[in-house]
């Protein structure tokens, strides 16, 4: 694995005052993988993503992306290197149109040096995420399903090498979940490595190549979905006693 690891996380730890949000997390993600992160509420999944992109500074541990240390870098610099995240609680720019929201990512992300074709890239992404019809709508008027897709569209517009999706299926109905899974697979097929946090276990198991299970900030299992879901510790901690 380490030979072609795109992302290498070692001993990643985050304390909030006395609270341990992440306690020594190790994992690697290979180029082209879909890597699922699951765990009960409060397990530290979102904190993990926040640390990866630099939205919060880890207390200790190292993060290497494409071989370079990125822990301690501010969020916007991590985005410029090609690692971006979406937000579980959607954070659209409500007074901007959908198109303007996406073009912020196109103008300031990893693809920011190619301003001249930003308009074309934005149009392609709106098409791909099914938001083309809503291009001129104010983001504040979208439904939750559309807002989740807008989160993905904005992140994609930054031209990431690795995309961290934080519960993009939360609040969606079953047919929307099917659409979202198709979208995620097509993003991966376009060459983007994906990390995803998801509550819908079936969705994660269905699309992930490997899964990391967190509980109280600690990794309790890691590996292919079929093996991880049979792990007795995972069953008792995450899925409940049976």
């Amino acid at each position: 694995m380490p030979a072609d690891a795109l992302l290498e996380v070692r001993g990643l730890t985050k304390h909030y005052e006395g609270l341990l949000a992440l306690g020594g997390v190790d994992f690697d993600v290979a180029r082209g993988e879909i890597f699922g992160v699951i765990g009960p509420n409060g397990a530290g999944k979102t904190t993990l993503f926040s640390c990866l992109v630099g939205a919060v500074t880890p207390t200790s541990g190292t993060i290497r992306f494409r071989g370079d240390r990125i822990d301690g870098l501010p969020n916007y610099k991590v985005v410029a290197r090609g690692l971006v995240r979406t937000h579980q609680i959607v954070r659209p720019f409500r007074d901007m149109t959908v198109e303007q929201n996406v073009s912020v990512g196109a103008h300031f992300g990893a693809g920011r040096r190619r301003r001249e074709d930003a308009g074309r890239r934005v149009a392609e992404i709106l098409e791909k995420t099914g938001l083309a019809r809503k291009a001129d709508a104010l983001a504040g008027t979208l439904t939750i399903g559309e807002l989740k897709r807008l989160e993905i569209a904005r992140a994609l517009a930054t031209e990431p090498e690795t995309l961290c999706l934080d519960e993009v299926m939360g609040g969606l109905n079953p047919s929307e979940i099917m659409e979202a899974m198709k979208l995620i697979l097509s993003i991966r097929d376009s060459g983007v490595t994906i990390l995803m946090i998801e509550h819908h276990v079936h969705a994660v198991v269905g699309v992930s190549d490997r899964i990391l299970v967190l509980n109280f900030g600690k990794p309790i299992a890691q590996g292919p979905p079929s093996a991880v879901m049979k792990d007795p510790e995972v069953i008792s901690a995450y899925l409940g006693e049976e």
């Binding site: 969020n75 916007y76 007074d95 901007m96 073009s103 990512g105 103008h107 300031f108 990893a110």
Partner: protein, 321 residues
């Protein structure tokens, strides 16, 4: 397509305004030209403040510092024999540099620190300008004789006013303006999409400060006499904030409307002895009215009026859609 039509309309309005204002000295009397000068000064301050306060959402209550820096730079250099208009670039540069004094330590922080710092720093500048000798202390400075020519000062002021409005429209439509809007609406989400928020806040603050300083330089040339009490006045800072808010925060036309109203009021109030001291009361009342009834300001009111008027002709035509 709609975007293109808006640009053409804006350019037409701007060109028309410029031609009218530059031709005005041929047919208007000096008193009216003075009033236009005052309103143009207000338009510059309001539109420049709006770049930072309206577009990027960073409220500064210390803009008199930049007026003062511009005015003093021009007065001090003019006294050394430099052509006052040749001092404008240096005034702009010094104000931009000074904007970093407040911006660098506070723009990294979240919360009201920037706003609080602007009050403290601008007051400190006023006290220092009144206390040191090279600025003439609290008695101020008089420009050298012969440096005054109303017509060229008037022309410079109206060109700057029209130019600043055009600049604001350009910034708002540019990726830079999109970054500022993103910062105002959700700074963490902006950073998560690659926007270096500290950098863009510093840039727009510097740009805005430079414009205000040039207006301050023209102020010094026109009034020929400046003192800490006139150019570093805290009430001046307050009225700069008031104009874009009353007119319509974060818009292009809003600060212009606010400047027209407040600038006009100021002229009327100052010329009637009975109302001279009531302007803070009137400003406060306007601010409360805007916050309670129309947060989008005069522009919001006008747009609402237009929608209301447009509804009537469209209603009796059922097949129109």
């Amino acid at each position: 397509m709609r975007q293109g039509r808006r640009w053409i309309r804006l350019l037409a309005i701007e060109a028309g305004a410029l031609v009218f204002l530059l031709a005005a000295p041929r047919f208007l009397e000096r008193g009216t030209l003075n009033d236009i000068w005052n309103v143009a000064f207000a338009v510059i301050l309001a539109s420049a403040w709006n770049l930072l306060g309206g577009f990027a959402g960073q409220v500064s209550i210390g803009y008199s510092a930049f007026i003062g820096i511009g005015a003093y730079t021009t007065a001090l250099l003019a006294l050394k024999g430099v052509n006052p208009y040749a001092t404008l670039p240096l005034a702009a540069l010094l104000a931009a540099a000074f904007s970093f004094v407040v911006g660098l330590p506070t723009f990294r922080l979240r919360g009201p620190y920037f706003t609080i710092a602007t009050i403290g720093v601008s007051e400190a500048v006023r006290v220092i300008a009144g206390g040191v000798s090279f600025t003439g202390g609290s008695s101020g400075l008089r420009m050298p004789a012969g440096s005054f020519d109303f017509n060229s000062n008037y022309a410079a002021m109206v060109i700057l006013a029209v130019g600043v409005v055009a600049l604001a429209a350009w910034v708002k439509a540019s990726p830079f303006g999109q970054a500022l809007a993103a910062i105002r609406q959700d700074i963490d989400a902006a950073e998560a999409l690659g926007v270096n928020s500290t950098k863009y806040k510093l840039l727009v603050h510097a740009l805005s400060a430079a414009i205000v300083a040039v207006a301050g330089s023209l102020f010094a040339i026109n009034f020929q006499y400046i003192s800490p009490g006139s150019v570093f006045d805290f009430r001046l800072s307050l009225s700069i904030v008031l104009m874009p808010i009353v007119g319509g925060l974060g818009t292009i036309a809003g600060p212009v409307l606010g400047a027209l109203l407040v600038g006009y009021l100021q002229i009327k109030l100052l010329s009637s002895p009975g109302l001279r001291d009531s302007y803070l009361f009137i400003y406060g009342g306007m601010l409360i009215a805007v916050m309670l009834f129309e947060p989008k300001g005069l522009l919001g009111l006008l747009l609402r009026l237009r929608r209301f008027l447009w509804r009537f002709p469209s209603r009796p035509v059922p097949d129109a859609g």
